[in-house]
Homo-oligomer: 271 residues x 2
Amino acid sequence: MVSPLQQTYGQRALKQANPAAKLLLETMERKKSNLAVSMDVSKTKDFLAIIDVVGPFTHIDILEDFEYGLIHQLQDLSKKHDFMIFEDRKFADIGNTVVLQYSSGVHKIASWSHITNAHPVPGPSIIAGLSSIGLPLGRGLLLLAEMSTKGALTTGVYTEQAVRMARASRDFVIGFIAQRRMEGVGLAQGEVPDRDEDFLILTPGVGLHSQGDAMGQQYRTPKEVVSDSGCDVIIVGRGIYGTDLSLTDAIADRAKQYMAEGWEAYLQRIV
Amino acid sequence: MVSPLQQTYGQRALKQANPAAKLLLETMERKKSNLAVSMDVSKTKDFLAIIDVVGPFTHIDILEDFEYGLIHQLQDLSKKHDFMIFEDRKFADIGNTVVLQYSSGVHKIASWSHITNAHPVPGPSIIAGLSSIGLPLGRGLLLLAEMSTKGALTTGVYTEQAVRMARASRDFVIGFIAQRRMEGVGLAQGEVPDRDEDFLILTPGVGLHSQGDAMGQQYRTPKEVVSDSGCDVIIVGRGIYGTDLSLTDAIADRAKQYMAEGWEAYLQRIV
């Protein structure tokens, strides 16, 4: 068995049982892109303009002029540009509550977001709750096993427990938000590793130049993240859309640069 | 210095610097109630009907027919019934993102919710981000130091780190979602405890009879929570509004029962 590190996204797609995981890997292979653009903007106009240029990764709860009709526009763009939608909701409540937050509210995330994510902090009940809604719809879940902020509590036993929780729900949990590969992490003494284990690793805190922001975010380059640490998808936000959201050409240029660097790092890795 | 355990809510209100903490303790003393009702319902009609009966604690992101006008109705009810609003948002993202989630989006939580809460998992940046919005508005923050669900990762060093983070931001962090008192928790070797330390402890997972639900929630009685463990506020959801939201008389009766038991447990404690 070859490690996920040396396999292509396309090879790994063939072995995924979860439809969202399969689709993500196929899309990355087809588009030659492992870039997810994090859309932390608060106006629908900017949101749509930038997505039309770069493809998305959403924080729908930031849009102050959200109306459900936006979802149809988002889905149209998703087809036009062949991208998947990942609402970065970071669910973090008990099972009964996340069921409602995921399926209901004004945003109805489960009905349109192929992938979402959750903190493992409430214990396995959060996965049970989200899975009861998302699995029948073919959705996939990422657990936040690590965060890239300074002083994050996602270390040691916390990360190991997150991986154990994922391993117990592989039909719905497709991987992690993390800074490194997670296969084999958190195995109990004497537990036999599954040599076919293959988690998707999506990684925030990626920048070409930046060293961080004033609020504790820390950055690494695409090469460090994908080639050195073996992560699968780079998540980039402000590094791409910058501070002036009207400069869509510059935004598109930066997205292309990240896309090229991310893909180059991947090609180096699978050699 | 008398421990917060033996002081009245009114005595403790006098020493709070944060206006939301002060108002909460004053309101509890005046209303003789340490009950927060958790409103996990998805229709505005039910939401308003139940709040009109019992007073609230909100999950605004569950309301599928949310329109901002609801906030004005909520604020009117808050004045009419003399209650505070606590949006149980469980923020759990990096500083830059929570700034937008707290101030913006369709819900604009900071503009109307006296108190909200956050997971400490991203590290101190989440407090810095939320505080930059909430502190100028006189809001207060609770950190989730413990959760009541089975298999929660909020144990040991995680909880200690949460308390340290709170201690470093006492102007904005007024206390914890937790199952016990937190004064003195997480002190470094040789660090001198502040004998005036006084955190508000709000506690979910409270039931008069229930033993738990199918999704990992676990329950304790008001006496166990307030009198034995020294917590300040009992948070009750389904135990009060039950399964038939149209039975408002029964809902009001159950709320009164929890209110009476919670207050009785408090009176036993301060003797």
